[in-house]
Symmetry: C2
Subunit: 426 residues, 2 copies
C-alpha cells in the first residue's frame, strides 16, 4: 500500500482512537503482552531471519545485540506493557477550568496529538515500547524501524494490530513503513501526520529536521557538560565525573566537556585526572589545565563542539561560574548539564541560567532518562524549546482542547459592554 | 544593524531575562505604561507621519483605522499593561515534583522559551501588547510589524526599550526589524530564534510555515462550523448562528459553514434563513437544503473548503451527528467548531471527536479569543497540534526545565540493581 494510503488509514483511526476509553486502551496493552507470548515462535523465527541476514552482512556486535529479540527482551517489554497499563490516564485531564460567565464554562482538557510518525533504530523492543506509549496516549502511529529488523518488525506489528483489534481498539491505528522511500514520502504528509519523532544518529535526526515542515520532536546532539564549582566536594566531583563520562559513553546524556573553577583546579584537577584515567578516559585539556596536569593532551577549539560518544573528555578551567554558564550556553546542545557544588546559591544560579532541558545539581547527567525520571518510559529526549523538553513520556504525546459549555451565549453583548465576563477559576 | 546581529543581541539578552525576577518584569510593564503617556507627543507625531503616508498611498479605511494609535488606543494598551502586571507569574511554576530517591529530587519548572520572532500586521497597539506578553513571560522578542506602521513602531520600540532598561530589565530584549528582507533572513536563524509567531493573512502565514524549520505557532486559516443537532432549541440556534456569522465576519473564529441534522432541517432551516438574511448574509445551500428553502443559492463542492471572511454562509444537511463530525474533520481548519443541542450525550460525542482547538456546546464560535477565555491577552490563535492550541497567552510563551537536586548520586548503582528508585510524588 502507498505511504499516503497507510497514513490516511492511521488518520482515520486517530479520531475514534482519541475517543477510546481508558479500559479499552489498557486492555489493548495487556492483550499485546499476552499475544507476544502466544506468538513467541513466529516472532522468534522472524527475528532469526533478520539476525542471519545481519550476520551475513557483517553487522557490528553492538548492533547485532540491539537487533536480538529473545525471551529476555520479550519479558522486559511485557513487564513494560504491564507497568504502562497501570499508569494513570494521560487523556481527559482537566488542565484548567474557568467560569467565563454564569452558565458559560471553559475547560482545557488533555487529548491525543493525533498521528505520530516515529523513525527508530533496528531495535524490535523499541517498536513495542513506542507503539504502547502511543496506544496509552490515544495516538495512531506510523512506525519505521531500522531495515535490519524488517521481519521482526512485521511480525510484531501484525501481532499487536490483531491483539488490540480484538479488544475494540480501532483498527489501523498502527502502521508499519518498510522502506527509506516511505520515510521521504512521510516527511511531506502534513495533512495526515501531526508530529515526527526521529531517533538514531545525530546526522540522521538533523536530516529529518531539515527536510520536513511537520513538527519534529527530538535531539540532534547531546553535548553535555559537568561544571565543578569552587566549592565542590572533591570525592563527589570525581565520582560524578566518572559516572557521567563512562557509565555508557555512547549515550546522549554522557558528558563531553568538564569545566572547572580556577580556584578548585589546582587541588582537584589532579584527582579528577587520576580517577578518569583509571576509568580509561583520554583527557584533552586547555592550556591552563595542562599547566596543572602537564601530561593532558592539548584540546583544540574544535574539542568544545565535539560530541565524542567515546572514552574522551575535554577539560577547561574557567574564571568563574558565569564563564562556565556562558561556555555551556554557547557550545552545549541544550540537553543536560550538571554542576557539582556545596554552594546552593551557585547551584540555583546555574539552574536558572543554563538554557538546557535538564540542569542537575550534584547528580550525574546520566539520570536524564524517562524511566529514571519516573515517566514510565520515553519515546525519546527532546532538545526542542516548545511542547516537550527533555525525556518525552506519555504527557509529551498529548495536547489539549478547549471545551466551552454554554447555554446559548453570543459574544455581541460582551463586546458592546452590556455583559461582563466573570473569569472565575473553578 | 544586520538581522543576525539583532537576533544575537536578543539571544544574549534572553539568558539574564529568563533570570529576571517578577518584580522587575512587572516594574518594566508599569514603566512602559508611564512612558507611553510621557512620550505621547513623539509617538503621536510618528503615527501621524505613518498615517499621512498611508493616506497618500490610498490605504483602505479599515487598514487606516488599525494603523491609528490615538489617545483612546493608548489608554486601552495602558490598561492592558496594568492588567498584565497584575497577573500571576507564568515562570518558576513547579509543574511536577518527584522524589527519585532519598536526597534526589526532580522538579519540572516553567521557564521562558527564549527568543520569539513575531511578524504582525500594521497595528501599533499590537506591538505593545505582544512585547508586554513577551516581557511578562521572560522572552526576548524580535518584532516585525507591517511596514505602514514603521515610524510608530520605531517610536514605540525606543520608548519601551528605554523605559524597561531603567527598571533593570536586561537591555536588547526587544528588537525591531524593519524590512521584508529581514523577515526572510529571520526565517533562517535557527540558532538564535526559538519560535516564530506569524500573524496576518492566511497566505502569508502559510508562506512562513513553509519557509522555515524554526517552530511556528499560528493558524493559516479559520474555517469554522456550526452544527445544529436534531435536538436543538430553534431560537438559540438562530441567535448563535447570526452571532457566529455576523458579529465580525472577517475574523478567524467566524463560521463559514452551517451543518444541520436532517430531522431538524424542515422546521428550523426556514427560520435560520430568515434570521441570517435579516443580518444580510448570503446563503448557499446543498441540494437537500434547497429542497426546503428553494431560493438558497446553490453551494458547490468548493464552498465546503472556502473561508469567505464575508457575509456568506454555506449550508449542508447531514444525516446524523457522525456525518457532521466527519465533515468538520475533513473540511475544517481545526480551529473552532460548535454544536447547538439539548442532548448532552450528543454534545460530549461532538466535543470528543471533533479534532479542533476549540469545541463549543451551545455557545458562539466567536468566544474563541484569549481575552474572552480569561488568558489576559493573546499573541495569536494556534491550530498547531503541539505546544499551545487555540488562543496563545502567557502560558503558550513558556516551556519548562527539569531540575534535579542530588547529593552526589551516580546512575551506576541504579543500573546494576543495587539501588532502586522511589519515584514518590512530592
Amino acid at each position: 500500500m502507498a505511504t499516503l494510503d497507510l497514513a490516511q488509514l492511521a488518520k482515520q483511526a486517530s479520531i475514534p482512537l482519541a475517543d477510546c476509553n481508558l479500559a479499552t486502551r489498557n486492555q489493548g496493552l495487556l492483550a499485546m503482552a499476552e499475544a507476544l507470548t502466544a506468538h513467541a515462535d513466529e516472532i522468534r523465527a522472524a527475528n532469526e531471519r533478520d539476525l542471519a541476514k545481519a550476520r551475513e552482512d557483517g553487522l557490528d556486535a553492538p548492533l547485532l545485540k540491539r537487533l536480538v529479540f529473545d525471551d529476555a527482551k520479550r519479558e522486559t517489554v511485557i513487564e513494560g506493557l504491564r507497568s504502562l497499563a497501570a499508569l494513570p490516564d494521560p487523556l481527559g485531564r482537566v488542565l484548567t477550568h474557568t467560569e467565563l460567565d454564569q452558565g458559560l464554562v471553559l475547560s482545557r482538557v488533555s487529548c491525543p496529538i493525533g498521528v505520530i510518525g516515529i523513525i527508530f533504530e533496528a531495535r524490535p523492543d523499541a517498536l513495542v515500547q513506542i507503539s504502547s506509549l502511543c496506544l496509552k496516549s490515544g495516538n495512531a502511529v506510523l512506525l519505521k524501524g531500522g531495515s535490519e529488523a524488517l521481519h521482526t518488525n512485521r511480525a510484531l506489528t501484525t501481532v499487536i494490530a490483531e491483539a488490540t483489534a480484538q479488544c475494540g481498539v480501532p483498527e489501523n491505528w498502527i502502521q508499519l513503513l518498510e522502506t527509506r522511500t516511505e520515510v521521504t514520502e512521510m516527511l511531506a504528509l502534513n495533512e495526515c501526520i501531526d508530529l515526527i519523532v526521529p531517533r538514531g544518529s545525530n546526522a540522521f535526526v538533523k536530516y529529518i529536521m531539515e527536510h520536513t515542515t511537520i513538527p519534529v520532536l527530538g535531539h540532534s546532539s547531546g553535548l553535555c557538560h559537568l561544571y565543578i564549582d569552587r566549592a565542590a566536594n572533591a570525592e563527589m566531583a570525581c565520582r560524578i565525573a566518572v559516572d557521567a563520562k563512562t557509565q555508557a559513553p555512547a549515550t546522549c546524556n554522557t558528558i563531553e566537556t568538564l569545566l572547572i573553577h580556577q580556584d578548585a583546579a589546582p587541588a582537584l584537577l589532579p584527582q579528577l585526572a587520576t580517577a578518569l584515567r583509571a576509568a580509561k578516559v583520554e583527557l584533552r585539556g586547555d592550556e591552563r589545565s595542562r599547566a596543572i596536569v602537564p601530561d593532558l593532551l592539548p584540546a583544540t577549539a574544535e574539542d568544545w563542539s565535539t560530541e565524542y560518544l567515546d572514552y574522551i573528555l575535554s577539560i577547561k578551567i574557567v574564571n568563574d561560574i558565569s564563564e562556565a554558564i556562558g561556555h555551556i550556553n554557547r557550545f552545549g546542545s541544550h540537553h543536560t548539564d550538571a554542576i557539582v557544588t556545596d554552594d546552593e546559591n551557585a547551584a540555583r544560579l546555574f539552574q536558572r541560567r543554563v538554557d538546557s532541558a535538564d540542569v542537575f545539581w550534584n547528580a550525574s547527567t546520566r539520570f536524564a532518562d524517562g524511566f529514571r525520571f519516573g515517566l514510565g518510559a520515553e519515546v525519546g529526549i527532546s532538545t526542542s524549546k516548545i511542547h516537550s523538553r527533555g525525556p518525552v513520556g506519555l504527557e509529551g504525546l498529548t495536547i489539549y482542547k478547549w471545551l466551552l459549555d454554554g447555554s446559548g451565549q453570543t459574544v455581541a453583548p460582551y463586546c458592546d459592554g452590556r455583559v461582563k465576563f466573570t473569569h472565575r477559576p473553578l
